[in-house]
Symmetry: D2
Subunit: 504 residues, 4 copies
C-alpha cells in the first residue's frame, strides 16, 4: 500500500491518524494554510494517537528468539508495549498498522562513521564554508538506509555539533548523531596524522585555520604534556559538548598525501603514556561519557584495555602482529566492547592484490582478518562499525577505475553496514549475532541502552521494517520497507535533501 499516491494533497478528513514525516514537518512549518498534512511518497501514515504495528516477525536486538507475530505499541515516539500477539493489550482508539509478512529489527547503528572525511587540500578548500551541508548529507544517507544512529568518531567538532543539534531538534531529517570531534592526540588534516604534504604545499594561514578547527586544542600538542595537564585539557574539551571521548593510543598513518608515493607509517607509535590515558578516561567517566580509543598495534590495544576505556575502535587492526591471547582474555575479562571493520573475502583479495593502492601490506591485512575471526569465536562483544564517509578514499579507487559496488567497498556511507554484515557472516557470525552487534551492542557500548538499541518497552521507537527475513539471509537487511525513527516513518525518497557529493 502506498499512501503517498493516495493522499497527495491536504486531506483534512484523515488528519486524525498520521505521524508526520520529517519532510512533512518542513512543509508544515512553511505552510500557513495547512493545519495538518499527510505523509507523502512511499510511507505509511501514523498519527497523533497511539499506534500499533501488528503481525510482523520481531527480532528485537537482544538476541532473543524472534517473536513470530508481534504487537508493538508506540506513543510519543517510544515503545509502550511490545510482545506476541495476544499478550499485548491494544489501547482503545489506537491506530493499527498491519505488518504481517514483514520483519522488524531495531534501527541499525554504526559505531564509527566520519560524516566528513576527505583531507585533500582541494576538498577542504572547496567545502570549508559548507561543512555542515556535507555533514547533513552524510547523516541523511545513513538514515535512508536504516541506520538511525551514527557515532561520528572524527571530524570538525563544531559543524558536527550544529548538525547534531538541528537533527535532534527535528529541524532537519537525519540519523541521530553522536560526536567525538578530534581523535585526541592526532594532528588536524594538514599534519603528520593525515596529509603531511598538504602542510607543506597549502598556504600557511589556511593550514593553521583548518587544523585549529579540527584539533580544538587536542592535537599533537597533548603528547608533550604530563598526565595532569592532559587531564585538564580534556576536561575543557569535554565541556565543549562532545558526546563521547576518543583518544589515539597509537598514531595515524599519513596516507592522504595525495599524489605522493610514500605512506608515512605512524601506526606503531604511541601518543600517550598509561598515566595520561588513565587521566583522560577518568575525565570522561567523571563527565558521564564513555571513552574509546584509536589503536593500531597489539601494544596500543593492550594499553587501551588496561587504561579502562569502555570500547575499542577497529580493535582488530594490529599491524603485522596478531592479538596475543593474553590480550584477548583481558578484553573478555573486562567486558570491553570492540568495534571491528571487516573486509569481505572478495574485498580482501582485492586489497591484497592492490596493496600499493590501499597502502596496507599483505601481512597487516592477514593479521587483521585473523583477529576478527578470533574475536568472533572469543565472545568479546563486537560492534558494527565501518569508518564510512561520503567521499574519499572512494574517489581514489574510482580514479583508478574501480566500481565501488563491485569491489564491495566497505567505507561508503549507506552501503558500508550491509557490507559489514556480509563480511562478518563470512567470517563466522550468525545473522542474529550480526544484528545484535548492529543494534543492542552499539547502544550498550556507548551507554545508551536505556534509551534505544533494542525493541523493548521504554525505548525510542527506532525500527527498520524489512520485506524479507534477515535471519535467513543477512542480505535481506537491504529489503527495507520502512525506516522509523522515534515513531516517525522516514521519507526515504527525499534523502539526502540537498545532495552535494552524491548529486547524480
Amino acid at each position: 500500500m502506498n499512501f503517498s499516491k493516495k493522499f497527495n494533497c491536504c486531506p483534512l478528513s484523515l488528519l486524525g491518524d498520521f505521524i508526520p514525516t520529517y519532510s512533512m514537518r518542513v512543509v508544515m512549518k512553511s505552510c500557513l494554510l495547512c493545519l495538518l498534512v499527510l505523509v507523502i511518497d512511499g510511507a505509511a501514515v501514523f498519527g497523533q494517537k497511539t499506534k500499533v504495528i501488528k503481525g510482523a516477525v520481531l527480532i528485537d536486538g537482544t538476541g532473543a528468539p524472534p517473536i513470530p507475530e508481534s504487537v508493538l505499541v508506540i506513543r510519543d515516539g517510544k515503545l509502550v508495549a511490545v510482545g506476541p500477539a495476544g499478550h499485548v493489550a491494544i489501547p482503545d482508539g489506537s491506530e493499527e498498522i498491519d505488518a504481517r509478512g514483514k520483519f522488524i529489527i531495531p534501527g541499525m547503528m554504526d559505531a564509527n562513521v566520519h560524516l566528513f572525511r576527505d583531507v585533500s587540500i582541494e576538498f577542504i578548500a572547496r567545502y570549508e564554508d559548507r561543512l555542515e551541508e556535507l555533514i547533513e548529507e552524510g547523516a541523511q544517507i545513513s538514515l535512508k538506509y536504516g541506520v538511525t544512529t551514527v557515532f561520528d568518531s572524527w571530524g570538525p567538532l563544531r559543524p558536527l555539533m550544529n548538525v547534531r543539534d538541528r537533527i535532534n531538534k527535528g529541524e532537519i531529517p537525519g540519523s541521530r548523531v553522536f560526536v567525538a570531534g578530534n581523535i585526541v592526540g592526532l594532528s588536524g588534516p594538514f599534519g603528520r596524522s593525515f596529509n603531511a604534504v598538504g602542510k607543506w604545499i597549502a598556504p600557511k594561514e589556511f593550514v593553521e585555520r583548518i587544523n585549529a578547527m579540527f584539533e580544538e586544542g587536542t592535537g599533537t600538542r597533548l603528547s608533550w604534556l604530563p598526565p595532569e595537564q592532559v587531564g585538564q585539557e580534556i576536561r575543557t574539551y569535554i565541556g565543549l559538548g562532545i558526546d563521547f571521548l576518543k583518544y589515539a593510543v597509537s598514531g595515524h598513518d599519513c596516507k592522504g598525501c595525495s599524489g605522493f608515493p610514500e605512506t608515512l607509517d605512524l601506526s606503531s607509535v604511541l601518543l600517550f603514556t598509561p598515566e595520561a590515558q588513565k587521566a583522560m578516561v577518568h575525565e570522561a567517566h567523571r563527565a558521564g561519557i564513555i571513552a574509546q580509543t584509536h589503536t593500531t598495534s597489539v601494544e596500543s590495544l593492550r594499553q587501551a584495555v588496561e587504561a579502562g576505556v569502555d570500547m575499542l575502535q577497529h580493535g582488530a587492526i594490529t599491524g603485522p602482529i596478531p592479538i596475543p591471547e593474553s590480550t584477548l582474555e583481558l578484553m573478555l575479562e573486562k567486558g570491553i566492547y570492540c568495534a571491528v571493520q571487516p573486509r569481505t573475502a572478495k574485498r580482501l583479495a582485492i586489497e591484497k592484490k592492490d596493496a600499493a593502492l590501499f597502502r596496507r601490506s599483505i601481512q597487516v591485512l592477514e593479521a587483521w582478518d585473523g583477529n576478527i575471526r578470533r574475536l568472533i569465536k572469543s565472545g568479546v562483544p563486537l560492534l558494527l562499525a565501518t569508518d564510512a564517509g561520503v567521499s574519499n578514499p572512494i574517489k581514489t579507487e574510482v580514479e583508478a577505475g574501480k566500481d565501488v559496488f563491485d569491489v564491495e567497498h566497505p567505507e561508503m556511507l549507506g552501503e558500508a553496514h550491509f557490507i559489514w554484515f556480509r563480511a562478518m557472516i563470512e567470517k563466522g557470525m550468525t545473522p542474529m549475532q550480526a544484528i545484535v552487534a548492529a543494534t543492542r551492542n552499539n547502544a550498550a557500548a556507548y551507554g545508551k541502552l536505556d534509551q534505544f538499541g533494542t525493541v523493548e518497552v521504554g525505548k525510542l521507537a527506532d525500527l527498520v521494517v524489512l520485506n524479507a527475513d534477515p535471519l535467513e539471509d543477512i542480505e535481506n537487511t537491504r529489503e527495507i520497507h520502512w525506516v522509523i525513527k522515534e515513531g516517525v516513518i522516514v521519507d526515504r525518497e527525499s534523502l539526502p535533501v540537498n545532495p552535494l557529493l552524491t548529486k547524480p
Copy 2:
C-alpha cells in the same frame, strides 16, 4: 558637499539634472516607487541633458600642452565638444558643472591585469564556483581608482567574458574589460607553466577540469603542431569571443609551486617557431584584433617583433641579458607598442635583497631595470601595464611579514598603476609621458583609439577629475575627485560591491 547625506530618499524635485551612477541604477531597478534617484556619496550630479564641465585644467592624453581652462561637452556618454573656454559653444539647456581648480585626465588604462591570478590548489578549489564574483571584484577595484579600462591578458576565458559582458551592458559597475583568455602555448594553472606541483598533488579530475577551463584548447599541446594547424586552432579560439590574442613566445616560470623551494625556470625556452607565430598573428589580424606576446628573453622578444605583433607585454623582462641595440631599433622601426612593468627604486632594492623570496636573480632584476631606462630614452611607445591582480603573490609577501604598501607592491590592483607612475618618473619619464602611456598609448596599442583613450571629440567620456596637478607631481593622480565612465560619475564608495578577497 555630500549629496548622499542630503538626499537619502527620493527627491523628485531634483530629478531633472543628474546622471545616475552605477550603484544607483541597481537601486532604481529594484525600487518600484522611485522614478528617479539621486547620486549618493561624494559625487556631483549629472542629468539627462547635455552636460558641460567647465574650468578644469585639461590634460587630454595626447601629449599636447594642458588647456588651462577647458570646456568639455558630453552627450550620450560621449564628448561632443572639447576646447579652451571661449572656444567651445555651450549648448542651450546644458547642465553646467563648475570644475575650476580641478585637473582632468582621460580615464586611465592598464594594458596587463589578471582579474583572477592565484594558482594555488587551495585558492582555485575554494573559488571554482565563484570565479565571476572574483573577477567583478577586480574590475570594480580598478574602476574605483580611476582605471576605466583594463586589458585582462591571462585568465579563465568564459567567466571573464561573462563579467565583461555584464559590465558592458551596464548590469554591474566595473572597469571596461577586454580579455585574452589563455596565453596561447602555456599550460593551465596545474602544469609546467604555473603550479607543476599542484598537478602532482591535487586530484586528477580536478586538475584536468581546471586546466581545460583555462587552456580552452590553446595549452602546451599547440607547441607540438605544425604552423598550419596552429593557425587553425587559433581561428577556432578567436571565434570564442576573445578581444585580443596573446601568445607565449617563451615559457613561464613555475614559481607558484607553493611551499616548494625551487623555481622551474622556463623563461628562456621558446614555445613556437617563427612560422607558427606568423600563422597566429595572421589569424588575429584577419579577425580584426591585435596580437600581443609574452616574452621573457632577448630572443623571444626579437622573434615577437619579427613576427609582426602589435604590442609586447613586459617587453623589458629579458632574463639576465639586456635588449640588444638592434632589437630596440627594430621595435622603433616597426612602431611597436611595448608594455613595461617597472619597479620603484625602493622596491627594486627589496627584491634584490629578498631575491630568494621573489625568485628572481639580481642579474635579471638589473637587466630589467636597465631595459626600461633605455626604452624610455629610445622613443619606443610605452604602455602602463602592471600584471596586477587582487590576490597572490601579495599573500606570499604578507605571510613573510611585509606591508604591501610599505614595499611599494607593484602588482596590487587599485594601487599598481600609481606605483607604475612613481617608478617610471624615477627612471626618467616626464609626468606628461607617463599620462600618455596610461591613456592614449594604451588605447592605440589595442586598436581602440577611435573609441577612447584621449579627451577628444567623438570619444567616450572616460575621465578622471583630480584635485591636484599630476604634471607637477605624478602622485597627484591619487587625488581623485571623480571617476567618470561614459559620462557617468562612478559611486566609488560603493566599490567593490561584494568584497570577497578585500572584505575588511
Copy 3:
C-alpha cells in the same frame, strides 16, 4: 679457435703466427723477458708481417652483393687489399688465416650511446670519483659485442675525452669513442632537463659542481643569448676537444625525478631560434666537425633540417604528431642522415601497456613507430643508434620486476644493437640495409667514411667475423667468432676488464 687461451705466455717461437689480443699485450708489457712489444702510437699493430684473411663471405658494408670467397690483406692495422679470391695478390711472407665458413662484416657502429647515463643523486654521488672507470666499462662492453666505434652523444666531457684518448693510444681496450659532451642547451643532470627534483633535494654545492661538469658552459644559459654570442660560446666549447657538436632544438623530459609521480614534459619546447642554430652549425663546420641535433617534435625536427645540420638523433621521435610529408621530403632533398631508435613489436606492446612506467603516451609511441616505418620507405639514410648505456633506466624496470632480456630492452649496451636489428627488420628493412645503417652510414654521417665504416682498401681493419650468415637471419650478428679492431683480435672474454656495474 681462441688464441688467447692457446698462448697465455710469451712464446717467442710462435711470434710469427699470431695476432696479439688486448689482454696478451698487457701480459707482454709486464714480462721482462719479452723483447717484442708492438704497440705504436695509439694504433694496434698487426704482428710484424702482413696478414691475410681468406675464404670468408664478405659483406663489405657498402650495400654491394657479398663476395662469396674473399681475401683481405691487412698491414699496419689497415686494409691494403680486398677482393674475391683469385683477384687479390697475396704478398710473400704473409701470415694466412683460414676463414672459410665465416662471414665478415665491418665493425659495427652505434651513433648514439651514453657510456654514462644515470642521473639519480645516488648514482652520481657514488661514482663521482670513478666516472672514467664507468665509461671504460661501457666502451669495453660495446667492443665485446662487435661495436668497434661508438658515438657518445651526451655525458661528462672531460672524463669521456680521457677515456677516448686512452683507448686511442692503446692503453686500454675499448670501442673507438667519439664524444659530444653536453647536448648544448640542456641543463646538467640536476636541472630541468633531467632530474629537477634532484636539484631541490641534493646539497647545493654538489648540484652546482656536477652540473658544471656536465654543462661545460653550454647549459640552459645559452638559450638566453643572442645568436652571435651563442656562436662564440660554441667556438670556445669546440676548442675543448669535442669530436662532434650536438645541440638541443627541443627540450628534454625530466623523467629521472626518481620516485616522483610526474614527468615534467619539455619535449615540445624550443631552446634556440633558427638564427642561433645556424650560428652553431656554422661554428661546427668551420671547425671541421659535424653538427647534429636532439629533436623531439615535428617543429624541432623541421628547424634542425633547415638549420643545415649533418645528422639527426632520434629523428623519429616527434611527440604525438607524425612527421609531415613536407619535412620528410626536405630531409631527402638535403641528404641528411637520420638516427632512429626503434622498438621491437614485443617491446612496443609492453611500453604501451606500461605507459605510466615508461612515461610515454600511447599516442607518442604510435607516432614514433609510424615515423620509422615511413622513414624506411622514404629512402632517407638511416643510422643504427640506441641511446644505450650500462645502467638505468634498466634499473627501474628491474625494480618493477622485469627481465631486461625478456622485454627486449632497447637501451642496454652490448645488447641494444642486436635489438635494433631485430626491430628494423620487423619494420621493413632488409638485413643488408640494416648492416649498411650500422656501418657505412654511421661513418658517413659522422664524416669518417674515409677512415672506417666499410671493408675497403685504405680503411682501418675493423671487422666482425661471424659464424653464420647475417643476411639470412639478422640474429646471426650475435654469432660472433672474432671482433677485430684495427687488425687486432679482441680478447672478448677479458672484457670488461674491471666490471663495476656489470660485475656478476
Copy 4:
C-alpha cells in the same frame, strides 16, 4: 717540547728516554734496522722502563682539590702510583719527565658522538664503501683534541665495531670507541626518523640496503612487538657485540629532509610501552652493559627514569615543556646520570633568531636551556655529551653563510667539547664540576670507572697535559701540551691520518 719533532728517525741511543708517538711507531715498524718494537696486544706500552711525570698540578677528575705538585708513575699503560711530590716513591731506573708548570686532567670523554652522522642521499651514496675511513677520521679528530674516549650512540654498527677493534688493537690511532649501533626503535637513515624524503627519492634497493645496515633488525619494526619479543630481539642484538644499549623512548624528528621545507615532528611520540622498555633494560643488564635512552619530551624522560636505565642522553631536551619537579626528584633519587647538550648564550641567540634554519622553536630552545640550569642546581650527575660528528649539519650552516667557529657550533667534533665547557660555565657550573662531568662521570655512567676516567692508581694512563690552569679559565682546556692515551703520547700533528671530510 715536542718529542715528535725532535726524534723523527730511529735513534737507538735515545731509546731510553722517549715515549714513542703513534707516527713514530709506524716509522719503527717499517724500519728494518730498528730492533725495538713495542706494541703489544692493542695497548700502547710505555717504553721498557717505568715512567714518572713530575711536578704538574694534578686535577684528578674525582672533584678533589688539585695536587699542586704531583707525581704520576706509569707502567704498562697504567697508573701505578699517584700523589703529591714526596709522598710517592719513584722506582729505581724510572724515566723521569719534568712537567712543572703544566696541569694534568684525565683524558676527556664524550658521552654522545656520531662518528658518522650525515643522512643525505648524496653523502651516504658517496661514502657507502668508505664508512670505516670516515669513522676513523672522526675518532682521530677526537683524540687530537684531548678526548681519549668517545661513546658513539648512533651509527652503522659493523663499521663502527671494526674501527673500534682496530683502535683497541693499536693498529690505528684514535679515541677509544664504545658503540651502540642503532638507537633501538628508530628507522634507518631513509625513513621516518631521519630522511623520509630520501626514502621516496632514492632507488629502492639502495634505501633497503642502507636501512638494513643501520637498523640491524632493531628499527621501527620493534614498536609492533609485545614486550617478550622485544626482549628476545634485543638479546640477539646485544650478541652482535655492542658496548651499550640505547633505545628511543620517543621518536626522532625528520629534519634531514634536505631541501624540503617541513620538519616531520616525531619528538613527542613514544615508541615503546613501559613493559617493553623494562624488557630491554633487563636484557642489557643481564649482558652486563648499561642501558641508555633517547628522550625528547617530559613524558619520555619520566618513562626512561622509571624503566631503570643507567643514563639519559640529552635529558634536558623536553620539547616545549620544562621538566616537572617530580621527575627531577626521581632522577636524583635513582642517582641516574644525565648527558646534556647545552648551547652557549651566543649560540642560543643565533638559534632563536634562525629558528627556521635550525628547525627548533623558540619555546623548545628556552625549555631546554632552563632545564640545564635547573639540572646543574639539582645535583643530578651530568655528563659531557655533544652529539658531535664530522660533517653535517655543519654543512647546512656553511651553505647558509655561517662561520662554524663564530657561531660557536656545538656539534663539530674536535671543537664541541670545548664549547660544551664554555656553555656549562655560563649556565652555572664550576670548572671543577665541568671537568668531573667530562671525565669521572662519563666513565661512571658507562660502568667503566674501574678502568679509566680519573687519575687514580690502577686506571689507564689517559691524560691531557695542559699549559694553563683549566680551573682558572675553562678555555684553558684548549691549551693542550700533550694528549697521552694509555701512557703513550699522541702524535697530534699527524691526525687525522687520512683526512677525507676535513682535508684542507
